[in-house]
């Protein structure tokens, strides 16, 4: 009985876990499959036939590639700003003790704990009441994206910093490096993977955001807004091409990171 119990304990959980992973992957398989779909009618969202056409002409649906480019620009800018500001905050939180530290912690956590619809609608309320209601667009989206990415950057970089061995920095100082040299030669390279992870996270959050963006976008159309709009009418298969391409790109990014990490660990 105990042996059976142990066997179940060892394998049942793994099997359950793999089934859950399957659930997580089912829609992605559909996205990849549908990127090769040749729909019979404009409103058809079933797999009707295989074609390479969608991959050959990803920009065919009107406005799709403009929306993607808007999302890319906003994503890159928001990532740069949020990563810079958030990294500074993370350093302050981990390396310094100051009055109001725990309040600051809570203040950073709150945006992550607020529903997107509340974040988006409150920003809209601010923009409208301060007379920017007619000027919603690229810049208001950017402001919103930096705001919700910031906390995630702080948390990610903070975790990396907290896990860092501070004796390495002390060793550098013992070897007569000044604070500046210690920072750029020791601290920064060690924290860099954390900063990169935060940047990647920011970009994917920004590129994917719909609820907050939709409230503050005015007439600007980002990629998720394009998808939303077409979901109400017809869904061009090219949307799945963009989705699959993003997925593959990110996968390559992650795999490359993992490979370099392993190589470094070996040497």
């Amino acid at each position: 009985m105990t042996r059976v119990g142990r066997f179940i304990g060892q394998h049942l959980i793994m099997v359950l876990g793999l089934i859950v992973l399957l659930y997580l992957f089912a829609p992605i398989v559909v996205v990849i499959l549908m990127s090769f779909n040749q729909p019979k009618g404009r409103l058809s969202y079933t797999f009707d036939g295989f074609t390479w056409d969608n991959w050959a002409n990803p920009c065919q649906p009107y406005g799709l590639c403009d929306a993607v480019s808007t999302s890319l620009r906003i994503g890159l800018l928001a990532t740069v700003v949020a990563t810079a500001l958030g990294t500074l905050m993370a350093f302050a939180m981990v390396r310094h003790r100051f009055r109001g530290r725990s309040a600051t912690n809570l203040f950073i956590f709150l945006p992550m704990a607020s529903p997107e619809i509340v974040l988006g609608s409150s920003l809209l309320a601010l923009f409208v009441s301060s007379g920017f209601g007619g000027r919603l667009g690229f810049w208001t989206i950017l402001i919103a994206h930096v705001m919700f990415c910031l906390s995630f950057v702080v948390v990610t970089v903070k975790a990396r910093l907290a896990g860092m061995d501070s004796r390495l920095e002390q060793a550098a100082m013992d070897l007569y490096a000044n604070e500046w040299q210690t920072f750029w030669r020791v601290t920064f390279p060690l924290v860099f993977p954390g900063i990169m992870a935060a940047a990647l996270l920011s970009f994917s959050l920004s590129f994917d955001d719909f609820i907050i963006t939709n409230l503050n976008a005015g007439t600007t159309v980002t990629f998720p807004m394009y998808v939303w709009g077409s979901a109400q009418r017809d869904i061009p298969p090219q949307i799945n091409v963009i989705g699959t391409a993003m997925f593959l790109l990110a996968l390559i990014f992650v795999l490359a990171g993992e490979v370099t990490r392993r190589r470094r660990a070996r040497s």
Binding site: G17, L24, M89, V94, H96, E116, L124, S166, G243, F247
Partner: protein, 300 residues
């Protein structure tokens, strides 16, 4: 996305080194730009949302809204929107329960059983984030459609009647919500399971506790920080979501987010703001009660 997993890991931040003279100022300078951004675009907006919820509901975008301290807005909106409101909280609760049910075995398998496949499995949990979640939700529409294989399989198993359908039902909306927020449950759970000292679990076995008893007495209590963090990270966004209800449900499954979005686009700012404030308040209250009960206040 590791940030989510590190939410609970970050709570373990060791106390910072004692301040050296003049370093306190550095701390404030480092915090200033980001803090200012959050103040201007997170705190101030919340205040203006609160203000907007008290505007005269008879105003319009063209004429502007006047501040009349109309606390009645809250009573009026609650009378009109109590049902979608309750539905949102109910769906969020269901979603959280399913996420916990599905997420715990997965997180446990990764943390305890995966061995050298650990990193790969973690990457697979995060991977769905790399395609737009709107597109993924649309895929569910296809998977759950009336002639899809999921419906066929359930009919074959007689779980679903011959005319049964999944799309445009509560089940579809909760399936989509669970799917969308599952990684937010798995990552914090993994982070706290991973930290458990294996020797404690072995000790349970040494003391003649069966695997289930060991799990109940040792593993589960030690993973509570992850359970709390994961619950909050799924419940909160699920309660405010309207994408799944819109794409996978019908107006019968309408959630409060649908109404807030619709009212804002229609320019009914006071009503929309009142609903938004109520949602936020309800969530804050629920979270406080939950965190009190669960006894873990080291979230941040």
């Amino acid at each position: 996305m590791s940030a989510v997993g590190q939410l609970s890991a970050a709570s373990q931040t060791p106390a910072p080194p004692p301040p050296r003279s003049g370093r306190r100022l550095t701390a404030y300078l480092l915090l200033l730009p980001g803090g200012l951004w959050l103040l201007l675009f997170f705190v101030v907006p919340l205040v203006s949302l609160l203000a907007a919820s008290l505007y005269d509901p008879n105003g319009s975008i063209e004429d502007g809204f006047s501040m009349t301290w109309s606390f009645g807005n809250f009573a009026d909106t609650m009378a009109d929107y109590a049902r979608p409101f309750g539905r949102s909280l109910w769906y969020a609760l269901l979603t959280t329960a399913f996420c916990l049910l599905l997420g715990y075995p997965l997180a446990y398998a990764i943390a305890m059983k995966a061995g050298r496949w650990k990193n790969l499995m973690l990457a697979l949990v995060i991977a769905p984030f790399f395609t737009s979640f709107l597109i993924r939700t649309l895929s569910w529409k296809l998977l759950l459609s009336d002639n899809g294989f999921v419906v066929d399989a359930l009919k074959w198993l007689h779980i679903l009647g011959p005319d049964g359908r999944l799309l445009a039902t509560t089940a579809a909306v909760v399936t989509g919500l669970t799917y969308n927020f599952l990684p937010f449950m798995v990552l914090p759970l993994y982070a706290s399971l991973e930290k458990i000292d294996r020797r404690l679990i072995e000790a349970g076995g040494d003391l003649f506790a069966g695997p289930l008893t060991t799990f109940r007495v040792v593993t589960l209590p030690l993973s509570m920080p992850g359970v709390v963090a994961g619950t909050l990270l799924t419940f909160i966004p699920a309660a405010g979501d309207y994408i799944n209800a819109q794409l996978l449900g019908t107006p019968k499954q309408r959630m409060i987010g649908n109404d807030i979005q619709r009212l804002f686009s229609a320019g009914a700012y006071p009503t929309a703001a009142a609903l938004s404030v109520t949602l936020m308040a309800a969530i804050v209250v629920l979270v406080l009660i939950y965190v009190r009960r669960a006894g873990t206040d080291d979230l941040v």
